[in-house]
Symmetry: C2
Subunit: 448 residues, 2 copies
């Protein structure tokens, strides 16, 4: 394959952005297409959803990130198709020809195990808008409970369930438990936020299943300490406005709960399916495109798929997990590969180097697996903090993030606790009840 | 009038919040009602609209602000009416009785001089959602121009007009000019953001009409230096999707412009009108409730109206301006008055002490009027900076704001430059054109 001249990258996440950055000072022409105008530091998105960070803290404008690279153009637009014969990507209103195409549109959807209707009651966390929506939902739950006079309904409103005990689920559950136990107490008249119930529901037999078993054990302890109720071996069978059902050992259990969040599974971007419609490639169950060890689509060697959109084999032939670290390494690898092709050098297959995985549980606990070294508790958390600050080094936002973390750590405060985009009236009480009056004991009481 | 026991405050802005804070450690029972769950530091809202600060930087949760005051309850809800006979405020779904009522719901609307249809093309800046909407509009203008192949249309897309040269208009215009001249250059392929035109349109004969004339002169100079085109004595007569018309000395002028922002006039909250429906009080043209020198509604002495909702007389009988400083002093005055009534002491009429007014123009210029002392240029700006940090002292966000300002000052960067809530596709090109193709010169070209 000859050295490609114009490289078109679709998606400015960890995968796509790293391709662009690694093609600096080459004689390639790079076009970076994204439907959003910013790169998102997704591992910290749960902190936006739980009111610690603001969206601006974890977003960096794509144009600013590549402004010094004269060979890169940024195009804001949505790719709707790929013409692999004429070698063009198709946008809503135009076409861009490529010599090499890198598809890195990620997994922006949620996989509700064939029950898309659950999505209505159980939002997932992928975009900035998802995060501010979940933030409003969490805060409105406490506000609604404060305004409620029926104790059973109050309880239902103060019950949170997170489906899926991977890193996102564990981190969300820990942060919600801390909002209830550390941030909000003392702020309400008719409820005690500490009475809030936070459930973490997982089908497998341990939390953080991609971690070694001993760290899952530590995570269990940490979750217990921050007040998260862990439900293992529990398969969600139904979710509606008032609660959810799980199956445990062939028995069905129903839980009353007004706040179910989804961290159960993701769905790859539809562009993978569009690419493979021609029958020239194959997608897996989650919509990921199967690629070879060079991250190329077999038979379409000028098309690379990387990041969460890729079903790339590890050394044992199993698919690599959808982690920022995998996406970043794949992006760098593609950048290097293209440079090597330009220099006429041979290209080695992609090998993922697991440099470690981390997950926080609450404000000062985390688990970290670096192969031989396994950390947990406060040591794990300090490590988590340092690793994330290093990962953010290339972004301008790191100082703001650090200041915000310091503030939150010492005060338990969460300043980005805003209910936004919730319509003109920020709170609607169920109509089934009559009018309430505020009584002399600072409680809402039903009117006679 | 006897000392009121239960004080109901409607609105948690500068006026209402300061009443609540000044009733700390009294034996009153305070109920603070707001439809939003946060207090907003509105003087810096234009910095959210122009991508420097994040909404979280200028918002403080109401419950957190009063958490240490055991006598204050916060109610999230919208007040739809007041029953002055039974002394109750009416919420959508309940009632709260008061002994004294403080209405401080501000001026959340825009006054389009009887042309509400202009609102569609000319958004104003009052809420956090307004700010993120305007931010998206500004950023999308550059993105749309980048994708446009028609030079006339490009020009129209890169023309911004701000109606109204009060502090908000001047600050918005200065910030937009700086986005174009300092932040964005070097980031686009097909446009030069420096070519952008920023017009500031004012009906009177000078900008910042509430400042002394010599400072208006300085403001003119500063606006010229940052590249804002000032159009004085210009009355807006029409605004539509493609431009606007102004009347100057009986002549009509039409300007092509796709981005008109409104800083021309505000409209008080409708609750003033609802209160005065009974004929027991009077509102002015902007919907403000006329109050006496004690800030009471004449004839309804237990009802106070303060802040932007009030038409309160100054020493000459003219209405006080809608400034955060006026609202803050009025809030403190009410807090003190109530305490004095409880102590059986006489209450003096409210007197506004003008401690000075300030407005920034671009990143390192401002004008400040402290009576005898008048500042402008860099000295004015340093003063503006210090004053705003002092004003933010009671909020936890000041450190974050300071860090962000330092960063922006030295890098010209604006990290909160996100296009959000703009629908699934962030950019739509006009359908009138055919498909475009990205050519070898990194330009969009119409397909043959």
């Amino acid at each position: 394959m000859s050295a490609p001249k114009r490289i078109v990258i679709v998606g400015g996440g960890f995968a796509g952005m790293n391709v662009a950055l690694h093609l600096n000072r080459t004689d390639t022409e790079v076009v970076l297409i994204d439907k959003r105008n910013f790169h998102l530091f997704q591992p910290l998105l749960y902190q936006v959803a739980t009111g610690t960070l603001s969206p601006g803290n974890i977003a960096s404008p794509l144009r600013a990130l590549v402004r010094k690279q004269k060979n890169v153009s940024v195009v804001l637009g949505e790719v709707t198709g790929v013409d692999t014969d004429s070698r063009e990507v198709i946008l809503e209103d135009g076409r861009i020809a490529y010599d090499a195409l890198i598809l890195a549109t990620g997994a922006p959807g949620h996989h509700y195990f064939g029950n898309p209707e659950w999505g209505k009651y159980s939002p997932g966390l992928k975009t900035v808008e998802d995060a501010t929506h979940i933030r409003s939902r969490i805060l409105l739950a406490f506000e609604a409970a404060e305004r409620e006079s029926d104790p059973e309904m109050k309880k239902k409103m103060l019950t949170f369930a997170i489906v899926g005990a991977g890193p996102t689920g564990v981190e969300l559950a820990g942060a919600i438990a801390e909002i209830a136990r550390l941030t909000l107490p003392g702020e309400f008249s008719t409820i005690d936020p500490k009475q809030c119930r936070v459930m973490l529901v997982e089908g497998l037999d341990r939390p953080l299943p991609m971690f070694p078993e001993e760290l899952s054990e530590k995570a269990k302890q940490h979750l217990d300490e921050v007040g998260v109720e862990l439900h293992l071996n529990s398969f969600v069978r139904d979710i509606d406005a008032d609660g959810f059902s799980v199956e445990v050992d062939d028995e069905m259990h129903r839980y009353d709960c007004r706040n179910v969040l989804w961290a159960g599974g993701v769905q790859a971007s539809p562009i993978g399916g569009v690419l493979c419609e021609s029958g020239r490639c194959e997608t897996d169950k989650q919509g990921r495109v199967k690629v070879n060890e060079y991250l190329q689509v077999p038979g379409l060697e000028e098309v690379y798929v990387i990041g969460d959109l890729a079903h790339a084999p590890d050394e044992n032939g199993d698919p690599l997990p959808g982690l920022a670290a995998v996406a970043t390494q794949q992006g760098r690898y593609i950048g290097r590969s293209i440079k090597r092709r330009h220099a006429g050098k041979p290209v080695e297959p992609f090998r993922y180097k697991n440099k470690g995985i981390l997950a926080t549980i609450g404000k000062s606990k985390a688990v970290a697996d670096f192969g031989k070294t396994k950390l947990s508790g406060f040591t794990g958390w300090i490590t988590w903090l340092i690793v994330h600050l290093i990962l953010m080094m290339q972004y301008d936002n790191r100082l703001m993030v650090l200041v915000t973390w310091f503030y939150s750590y010492f005060t338990n405060g969460r300043n980005a606790r805003m209910i936004t985009h919730a319509g003109p009236t920020q709170y609607k009480r169920d109509k089934r009840e009559g009018e309430l009056a505020w009584d002399e004991n600072r409680r809402w009481r039903k009117e006679a």
